[in-house]
Amino acid sequence: MMHPDAGGKPRELPPPVAELSARYPGRSDAEWNALVSRIVAGAAPELARRRGERAVVRPLLRWARPLAVSAAAVLLLGAVALSLTSDAEAMATPPSFAEIVDREPETVLLVVDRPPSATDLATMLDADYNPQVQP
């Protein structure tokens, strides 16, 4: 058998050491079977534990999957229904104080040429806000 060596030139692979196979003779099928039996016997408690565990968990798993699917479907339908709602006003949050004051304060106050009174602020905060300022 030849194979390239590190330098690229082929180097002959020496034949196997015959004594090696003499030192490790093949095993009989009976020996292999005995080893397999020992391993399977050793694993028996773990296999039994797994069988018991699956016997408890499997019925739960049988129900868990349809329940999860149903819950996902309900969530999906709810999300779709919400997105289709046209009542935007119902969804809208009431304006904050800062939003109301920032609406047109300069123009309002410039017209009357005076600082805003408590009544002005109360009027602006009111839901039926009227931009006309009382004298």
């Binding site: 050491v17 490790y24 080893l35 050793g42 694993a43 565990e53």
Partner: protein, 199 residues
């Protein structure tokens, strides 16, 4: 059509199917996995440990450990590679423990107690002792390669895949291992005892 025994049916299944069934506690599936891979597993363990009895123990431990951690075998069709890695690690653990134990015994000054009796000496052939000495001079990788190739008949590609090496590297290791083994065997004169082997 005649009905077949569960073990017979399990023989025909893929590793992935058998793993899933064994995860559920199917003994026949686990037995099929063991039968299918025990020779490869033993070859790997023997390549590391060099002694058949030690290899048996390592293989047994490895399969039991694999059974306990079978849920971590993912993807299931890679069972063989996963299993052989466990076997190899287990064999190296065992080898390390054996070394530590031997060192402790020598430290205690009880080495004489471990000297083989004349009967034990007779049981070990001269060839076996010479070979053990020669194999002991190989590096871990050289020993694994030469044992798997020359004793177990593995192909270069399979050894390369297991050890994570290139095929060409495996060939180089095999070449050096064979040369070193031959040199060691020649260096030990037939009339010298095993203790006088090449240092």
């Amino acid at each position: 059509m005649r009905s077949r025994a569960p073990a017979e049916e399990a023989e025909e299944r893929t590793d992935a199917t058998l793993v899933v069934r064994a995860q559920d506690g199917d003994g026949a599936a686990f037995e099929s996995l063991v039968k299918r891979h025990i020779r490869a597993a033993h070859a790997v363990a023997l390549a590391v440990l060099g002694e058949t009895a030690d290899a048996d123990d390592a293989v047994q431990d490895a399969f039991l450990s694999a059974m306990q951690h079978l849920d971590t075998c993912w993807p299931a069709e890679k069972f063989r590679a996963w299993m052989l890695t466990i076997v190899r690690n287990r064999a190296y653990d065992m080898k390390r423990r054996n070394r530590v134990r031997l060192a402790e015994v020598l430290e205690d000054g009880t080495a004489a107690a471990r000297d083989p009796s004349p009967q034990e000496r007779a049981e070990h052939s001269e060839l076996g002792d010479r070979l053990s000495t020669a194999i002991g001079t190989l590096t871990d990788t050289q020993r694994e390669v030469v044992m798997m190739h020359d004793v177990e008949g593995w192909k270069h590609a399979d050894i390369a895949a297991l050890l994570g090496l290139a095929e060409s590297t495996v060939r180089v290791h095999l070449l050096h291992a064979r040369r070193r083994l031959r040199a060691q065997l020649l260096a030990v004169a037939p009339d010298t005892g095993p203790g006088e082997a090449v240092r």
